[in-house]
Amino acid sequence: MTSHSTDGTVVRMSLLQRLDHALLALCLLLLIASGLALVYHEQAWAKVLIGIMGGMRGRGLLHRAAAIGLVFAGLLHFGGLLFSRKYQSDFRAVRFRRSDFSEGWKGWIHGLTGKGAPPYYGRFTPMQKIQYWGIFVGCLIMAGSGFVLWSPQASLALFPKSVYDLMLVVHSEQAQLIFVVLILWHLYDVHLAGGNFPMNPAWITGRMGGEKFRKRHPAEWDAMQKGEQE
């Protein structure tokens, strides 16, 4: 449950969530850098990156180390879902609802034309939900395909090479999908868009100003007011 604080701010992320998010962000950035450098190895920037990572061997080691970090972040997330009330509450709130479509459409029209009522978003906007589930499913796909690619000997003992080749394509394509969703879209939103420059500090402080929260997540704000009155 999102809660008020005495200073008027709203708690958006618990300490565990922030640590989990920081670990996820670090590992994904390392994975994307070391992975896309391999996919685009012919490009000059990729050669520079591979050089910085200590050549192909260093790149491979870094990629695998970051992959272990990502799995750990995933385990932390699932642990939170099992044992943390904040995680469980957020997980319920991040599920898609039918209203997400109508509110999302309303929000888009309002943003583009200024006409109509502003959207009545809850704890998470439809775009945030898309990003969360995109990363959630994306990381599962990346981890699954990544472990198949980890050791050719072990994988080929279990699967035909066509599966290995398929996983290779899935891994590299899904990485580019994550790059678009994460690096371009999510980072644009939290760093550049909507008065967030240079960044929305919630991922560090875990808090958001009450007034800003009321405007961005009015449904959740109203629910909180109602809860407090009761």
Binding site: G55, T125, S162, L166, E173, V181, G194
Partner: protein
């Protein structure tokens, strides 16, 4: 066979003739002896130092052994010395070779005139050590010759002779012959390529024995001139050891060397072979890692072998399914039977790995749509931001909130 002799000074000849007449009694009925010759040629050109002659390969021969046309002194203009009188085989070879035909060097140019050390003697220009210098001296002046000579000097063979003084390393005559000076230019001549292979094999026996069993040699035996011989992969004068990074058969260069033929669509079509072997390799992890400089990565020869390359359908081939476990196991110690069923060099295409191709097409469309959606998202936000800024009545910052219906926490 010609010998280069200088035109003697007429005055000196007259003086020498006079002197010879005075000592004429010394000349035997069989012809002049060495002392008769030296009576003049110690001073008269061409001057001869008899000691030099005595220390040469021709020690024991008299002047008239070579200058056989001089039967008495004084003598007129002598005929050219015919070395073929004794060295008939070598002279015949020389006459048939390009040096004789092109008016190139004769015997004395390489062997010397009076001072003719044995070819095993380092003083001889025809010795193993010095023939590079002797041949190179002229050939560097021919068109493109300087490059040849330089390439050979820097090659593993040239360095073996020049730097290490190895008799085992070939010098010019080892391959081209001393007197017939064969060109060895094979181009697309299968027979000539087989000859070159035999020549290389005279030193590189195991490689030749393996090559004789290969698909490439089989094609040469069937007079397929485009099939590769030794020099097609290793080069000619520029041959380097595979350990040398400039070698055409160094690990990082092997794909390009093999690819010269195996990526040539028209050539491969002639033999009914696929032309995508290089492109599929370069896209594979092996290809990528090798290109990035990790020489442990498998190159063509790691799997197919070097000299004994056979089609994978041949049970003796390293890439025959029954041998893949062993071949792959060289680098992948845990390689099991699963490796036997692998289809290599498969491209991600509708005709190759179709499943992977379908997934790639799906992702390409999906990512394109996402990028389009992202651009639309930015445009929406910028439009909203500009509109709210124009509303001067709105307090600073509020416009951002109002316009940004997708604002994120």
């Amino acid at each position: 066979m010609k010998s280069r002799s200088r035109r003697p000074d007429i005055g000196l000849i007259l003086a020498a003739s006079l002197a010879a007449m005075l000592v004429g009694a010394g000349a035997s009925a069989a012809g002049p002896g060495d002392s008769d010759c030296m009576a003049c040629h110690a001073e008269v050109k061409p001057r001869v130092v008899l000691d030099v002659l005595r220390g040469s390969a021709h020690e024991g021969l008299s002047c008239t052994s070579c200058h056989a046309d001089i039967t008495a002194v004084p003598h007129g203009k002598p005929l050219a010395v015919d070395c073929g009188l004794c060295h008939a085989k070598e002279a015949d070879a020389w006459r048939a070779g390009p040096h004789a035909k092109a008016g190139g060097p004769g015997c004395v140019d390489c062997h010397g005139a009076h001072d003719v050390p044995k070819s095993s003697d380092r003083r001889s220009m025809s010795s193993h050590e010095r023939q590079i210098e002797a041949c190179g001296g002229c050939h560097a002046r021919l068109a493109g010759g300087r490059q040849w000579v330089k390439m050979f000097d820097e090659s593993v063979h040239g360095q073996g002779v020049i730097k290490q003084g190895l008799n085992l390393a070939p010098a010019c005559a080892t391959c081209h012959g001393a007197h017939d000076v064969r060109s060895l230019k094979a181009d697309d001549d299968a027979k000539a390529k087989r000859e070159v292979a035999r020549l290389c094999g005279s030193c590189h026996e195991p490689a030749y024995a393996a090559f004789e069993k290969s698909a490439h040699y089989k094609a040469l035996s069937q007079n397929v001139g485009r099939a590769p011989g030794c020099t097609d992969c290793h080069g000619e004068h520029s041959i380097q050891a595979p350990e040398n990074r400039s070698s055409s058969v160094a690990p990082e260069s092997v794909p390009a060397t093999c690819g010269r033929c195996h990526a040539d669509k028209s050539l491969m079509a002639n033999f009914g072979l696929p032309a995508d072997r290089l492109s599929t390799y370069l896209k594979s992890y092996h290809g990528v890692v090798l290109e990035m400089g990790d020489l442990r990565a498998a190159n063509c020869a790691s799997c197919h072998g070097a000299h004994d390359i056979l089609p994978s359908s041949d049970p003796a081939s390293r890439t025959n399914p029954s041998n893949l476990e062993k071949t792959c196991g060289k680098c992948h110690p845990g390689a099991g039977r699963a490796f036997s069923n692998i289809r290599f060099h498969e491209s991600v295409s509708p005709t190759g790995a179709r499943g992977a191709w379908f997934v790639r097409v799906f992702y390409t469309i999906f990512i394109s749509l996402l990028v389009a959606g992202f651009l639309l998202h930015i445009i929406t936000r910028l439009v909203g931001w500009r509109r709210t800024r124009r509303k001067s009545a709105a307090p600073l910052g509020k416009g951002m909130e109002g316009g940004g219906s997708h604002d994120k926490s």
